[in-house]
């Protein structure tokens, strides 16, 4: 049974000010109702003024998604009554959005290239934020800091065929938006998703209130199961709106409250129409994820998997390019595998790491001054210090302090001799052909050198010593 999924994504674009007034968008940690003015508060007599940058960002997205920008675009009022909607209408775009008919390339579940069609992209304002107070008295508390924040709404055709495909689409879209510089991935609540899902032949269900893009796969997987179970029992899937409860990973019916709303759309008489189609030609797009991925493979000889990982986040890709000159392959492994792993473990972002420090580390590794194992230790110590807010110690300093420099060959000789003397049985086993015995002996040496020696070199030294020794 085919699954049919379409998405409606709301993105808070990273302008400095709100869509229709000069209040700053940087309200995240501030007290409620401290980023408001007569316009976003909906005071009587206030008038909207359109943020030019928001339109430019919208056009950038439209161009990146290969969309057709309408000759004439206009703002409309969507009328409904809710405590977080200051004017009792949302200024949005209805009949004449900014752009239509675009595409995004993803991989389907079989790993083949697939096109997801984008129906439309338009600008609208965010309402305020409601906090529900329950208890003896029940009421709402409203914070209008978010009222008027610019949103880009991106609507897809129902082209996705599985929750996994939906997740891949969202990852790709999010990456593209970050590359375009129009979206800040670290902003809480910056990307919200509504999904439409149906099983072929059945009614369509709308799922709202998905505020993390990881929640999308969870919500849709739950829905597919729920709908399949209904049909299996011989029941029908009701056409309805459901809410996603992130904590419990389930969707619940919105209790029939979401009947067809009559929003009474009409063009907003306080704003003038937009004629911006010609401006698209002047827009210089930055290098987009797919192009960058291909360039990394070509220019740096990086593997497909590494290229994908590195270009999946523009900041990570930038970081890589700053250190790649030392040794592209070495840098790729260390950045995409080791560093990323250590960062994820500590819930840290790449922004916390000074590229110069990693460059230094790579140089030490390349020159053979330290072993891989020592390198990992240096990295961990460095990152731990960064997390705890102490200044980021440089790798060379750490190496010196912890005496992690690769041990010179002579230093070993005595240790190797000592180990060989102490383990005659193992030496005998090795001579009679048991490779495992060599590992044991090398392990003993490693213990004594506290990992400062390179295991491969050690094997050579030990086996040579044994051959030469002839005890």
């Amino acid at each position: 049974m085919k699954t049919i999924i379409g998405l409606e994504i709301h993105v808070q674009v990273s302008t400095a000010t709100k869509l229709f007034c000069g209040c700053s968008t940087d309200y995240q940690d501030d007290a409620p109702n401290t980023h408001c003015c007569p316009v976003c508060l909906g005071l009587p007599g206030a008038l909207p003024r359109l943020n030019k940058k928001a339109v430019e960002y919208g056009l950038r997205v439209a161009k990146a998604l290969d969309m057709r920008v309408l000759e004439e675009s206009e703002f409309a009022r969507k009328n409904y009554f809710y405590p977080d909607l200051a004017k009792a209408y949302q200024i949005t775009q209805h009949d004449k959005p900014l752009a239509v008919e675009g595409t995004v390339e993803i991989e389907d579940d079989e790993g083949h290239e697939k096109i997801i069609r984008i129906t439309r992209v338009h600008l609208e304002e965010d309402p305020g934020r409601l906090v529900h107070v329950t208890g003896a008295s029940k009421y709402s508390l409203v914070d209008y800091n978010r009222s008027g924040i610019p949103l880009l709404e991106i609507v897809t055709e129902p082209d996705m065929r599985s929750p996994q495909e939906a997740r891949r689409f969202l990852n790709k879209l999010r990456t593209v938006l970050e590359y375009l510089g129009v979206f800040d991935g670290d902003r809480e609540g910056g990307l919200r998703v509504d999904a439409n899902i149906s099983l072929e032949g059945s009614e369509r269900v709308e799922v709202k209130n998905i505020s993390s893009y990881k929640g999308v796969e969870k919500a849709l997987t739950f829905e597919v199961t729920r709908q399949r179970n209904l049909l299996r029992r011989g029941q029908k899937v009701a056409r309805e709106t459901r809410h996603f409860m992130e904590g419990r990973g389930i969707t619940t019916s919105a209790r029939g409250k979401e009947e067809e709303h009559d929003y009474r759309y009409f063009p907003d008489p306080d704003l003038r129409p937009l004629r911006v189609a010609e401006r698209v030609a002047e827009i210089d797009l930055p290098e987009l994820p797919t192009a960058r991925k291909n360039r990394f493979m070509e220019q740096y000889g990086v593997s497909l998997n590494h290229a994908r990982t590195l270009t999946g986040d523009p900041k990570l890709a930038d970081f890589y390019e700053e250190v790649a000159h030392i040794d592209p392959a070495l840098a790729a492994t260390w950045v995409a595998d080791t560093l990323l792993g250590e960062l994820n473990y500590r819930d840290m972002g790449i922004a916390a790491v000074p590229p110069g420090h990693i460059a230094e580390l790579l140089e030490l590794l390349k020159a053979g001054t330290i072993t891989d194992r020592a390198g990992v230790q240096v990295l961990r110590e460095m990152l731990d210090a960064c997390v705890e807010g102490r200044p980021c110690e440089k790798p060379t300093a750490i190496v010196k302090r912890e005496k992690l420099g690769r041990a010179a060959g002579d230093e070993f000789t005595s240790i190797v001799q000592a180990v060989i003397s102490a383990n005659p049985q193992a030496v005998e086993d090795y001579r009679s052909g048991k490779e495992g015995a060599l590992n044991f002996l090398v392990g003993q040496v490693m213990k004594e050198t506290r990992g400062r020696a390179d295991p491969r070199e050690l094997r050579r030294i030990v086996s040579e010593s044994i051959k030469m020794g002839g005890v």
Partner: protein, 433 residues
């Protein structure tokens, strides 16, 4: 030259909702001049009610642009004037603060919705006042009270701070006893404000000139049809005759779209109003909404208790005309009709420079006389077309019928406000002489 003006008027006609007994003033073109401001224009620190209970207690934290300009030129803002609730009316009878009386005959209405401003000027309480005009709300009370009232070209005066009734139709405008004072006030308030996106940068800086020799004046048949009181029509024709004496030539013109004008006007203004007035939910301002109830119940109850019947009627009309299934029949058609009317005027203005006719079909009626909504709407028939077309229009007194003032209405091309003022000035100077 800064100071404080003491203002304690004998407000027997109920022209004011709020008076500022000690009004500060400063230096500038209006230094020390007492100006009354209609109570739908935001004044920081001075309560602003739109003559409605739903704004009870509301004190704006900001000034409308025109108020900033008045203050900058040293004017003394002495009070906020009475009006029809939210501007919805032509008689000032729907005010939650009681009606205003016409100073010429206190048993009669002063007109509306800027009735308070007109009465304050006509009674000599202030020399000038600001009004607003959506479908005739400056010109109608000017005509009924026998003063001068001017509606500028749409987009010439900032609407920032004007509590919206019908955004695509309304303008703030000057009211005074003389054309010269109207022009003087216009020079102060008609300055560009980037906060109003519907405005154009066309400042008004004009000294009225009485020379209208060579002016082509159009006289539309639709303005002298049935429904217009014959004696009013006669007064106005005489006034137009005086324009001819002054060197103008009259030309018959026609505005065929007039037959749709009133319907188009009321569909558009009620549609916009139904959206504009939805924000009064008692949460951020106004009488506190009852937070023990649920949202919809609380919101509905608040609106029922605090909006008058006419406001609720118009909100419902506008909700209906925008609703699914009806918006094509009403709202869309009204916009087409509006554009046709605008084009009719453009065509007429190919042959003439000014269009002249009566401001109102009758003189002021008695308080309480008209209580049928539709018949009241019909009173706007001669004034609403100028709002639909966005053109400048003035009402200047031209005689009396039964002792009650008659208004001569002059309309001009978009952004030719100066020419309209000049024509009115020429007429006024002639009849005073």
């Amino acid at each position: 030259m800064a100071g404080t003006l003491n203002f304690s008027p004998d407000d027997r006609y109920n022209a004011f909702i709020t008076t500022c007994r000690e009004a500060p003033f400063g230096d500038g073109a209006l230094a020390g001049v007492a100006i009354a401001v209609k109570d739908n224009i935001s004044t920081a620190g001075i309560r602003t009610t739109c003559a409605s209970r739903i704004l009870e207690g509301y004190v704006p934290p900001y000034d409308a642009h025109v108020v900033e300009l008045l203050r900058r030129e040293g004017a003394a803002i002495v009070g906020k004037t009475n009006m029809d609730e939210f501007g919805m009316g032509s008689t000032t009878e729907t005010s939650a603060f009681g009606p205003t009386q016409n100073p010429v005959d206190p048993s009669r209405v002063p007109g509306g919705s800027s009735g308070g401003s007109a009465a304050a000027v006509a009674a000599g309480l202030v020399p000038m006042a600001l009004g607003t005009d959506t479908g005739g709300s400056i010109r109608c009370p000017a005509a009924f009270c026998g003063i001068v009232g001017f509606k500028p070209t749409y987009g010439r005066v900032s609407r920032y701070g004007l509590i919206a009734y019908a955004n695509s139709l309304e303008q703030i405008g000057p009211m005074a006893r003389t054309v010269e004072d109207v022009s003087r006030l216009m020079s102060v308030i008609a300055r560009y404000d980037p906060r109003d996106s519907t405005m154009l940068d066309r400042p008004y800086d004009h000294q009225p000139s009485a020379n209208i020799s060579g002016l082509q004046v159009g006289v539309p048949e639709e303005y002298f049809g049935e429904g217009v009181d014959e004696r009013v029509a006669e007064n106005v024709r005489d006034a137009i005759g005086i324009l001819e004496d002054l060197g103008a030539t009259t030309v018959p013109v026609s505005i065929p779209g007039m037959r749709y004008a009133l319907a188009a006007y009321y569909v558009i203004c009620t549609s916009e109003a139904s959206s504009n007035l939805a924000r009064f939910d008692g949460v951020r301002y106004g009488p506190a909404v009852d937070t023990r109830k649920t949202w919809h119940e609380a919101y509905q109850d608040l609106r029922q208790a605090n909006f008058g019947a006419e406001v609720r009627r118009r909100i419902m009309l506008g909700t209906f005309t925008l609703s699914a299934g009806y918006t094509g029949r009403y709202y869309a058609k009204a916009q087409v009709a509006r554009r046709n009317i605008a084009r009719d005027f453009e065509r007429a203005f190919c042959d003439v420079d000014i269009i002249a006719g009566p401001t109102m079909p009758t003189v002021a009626f008695r308080l309480g006389e008209k209580n049928d909504p539709l018949s009241l709407y019909l009173a706007d028939i001669l004034t609403a077309p100028a709002n639909l077309a966005g053109i400048p229009a003035i009402s200047v007194p031209c005689g009396r019928v039964d002792g009650l003032p008659v208004g001569l209405q002059l309309m001009g091309r978009q952004f030719e406000d100066e020419r309209v003022i000049d024509t009115a000035f020429a007429y006024e100077q002639e009849v005073r002489a």
